[in-house]
């Protein structure tokens, strides 16, 4: 049996895995379904922990680093990015 991977990327309000999801993306390697920008108005789970309870495995934690000097008030990317996966068995 071959395995294929689904990725769920959740961006949390804070480093707390129970905190509210504020942004989300899905990448599905198990089918031809292609998620795209703006394709849902509400996240699939309210928190990272809620996704874990549905069988999603966390495979990346965001590192926390102090701001570079002089850039303490700059903003850019969403800081609290958690990448989760599900593996699905496919018929070879």
């Amino acid at each position: 049996m071959a395995q294929r991977q689904k990725l769920l990327v959740l961006y949390a309000h804070s480093p707390d895995l129970n905190s509210r999801v504020v942004s989300w993306s899905e990448y599905d390697g198990t089918s031809t379904e292609k998620h795209t920008s703006g394709d849902s108005d509400a996240p699939p789970y309210d928190s990272v922990v809620a996704a874990m309870r549905e069988g999603w495995r966390v495979i990346q934690f965001p590192q926390q680093l102090p701001s570079y000097p002089g850039m303490e008030y700059n903003t850019a990317y969403l800081k609290y990015e958690y990448i989760l996966e599900k593996l699905e068995e496919l018929d070879a």
Binding site: Y11, H13, V22, W24, S25, T36, S37, K79
Partner: protein, 276 residues
Amino acid sequence: MPEPPDPADHLLDSLQMARFAADGFLRFDELVPRELNEAAYEQMVANEVERPPAGTPLSSMWADTPLGEVFRLPAIQGIKNSLVGTDPLYDHHAVHTVGANHLQGQAWHADAIIDIRQHFDIQFFYFSHDTPREMGGTMILPGSHFRRISESDIGRYQNFRGQLPMVCKAGTVMVAHHGIWHCAQPNRTDQRRYMFKLRLNPTARQLRLWNTEDLGDPKISGILGTNHEWYGNESRLEVVNRIKFWRFLTGDEDFDVGYWLSRLENEPDTPQQQAA
């Protein structure tokens, strides 16, 4: 004969400017008259929009054309004058289209590259025909304009709390800070979608260019403190960015929202007086 309309009558007010500072855009529904929308649409379909060199004064362009007429409307002149002054330069334009039954959304992006200026360009987004949700339109992310990213660096993101599709009637115009995050949305209809984008550069210091009669309105602080849900824990940092921007726009170096910057700027050097 009646007096011709005066763009000065259409300047933005301070509450609108505060919304621009907080959200990165302003929206004006059904601003352009129907006949002009139809003519502008035909001009785009015919691909007859002159493309002058970047840096051309806007005032010298597009004489006797429908799109030129759109941007000479007193209401649009008032918006432009409030944000980039009376004599901005043309940066570029684009006739953005999404084909019928195109089901893929564009990756989130900001235009151009990392831009750390307080001085800012504006981009007009003009929708000449009705744009229902099944047709798109352009999706924007309110409050994203101060984020320091380069073009499609943000392409991994797909959805945010508070994302806003421009669903609108013909004649609607949005004006945005150059840093706003946006993406074209799928078009599930049988008709090609059009949107006209125009970027302008200021040539004058962007200092109190709008109608400032209401500059003391206490609602301004509340608007500048808006918390867009997708910020998460960084909401207060965005308020600091807005305070700095508002100081730039107004010249009031003591302006604050709450006590956020005043606290950080409190670094006393005066020795304490000793009791006699």
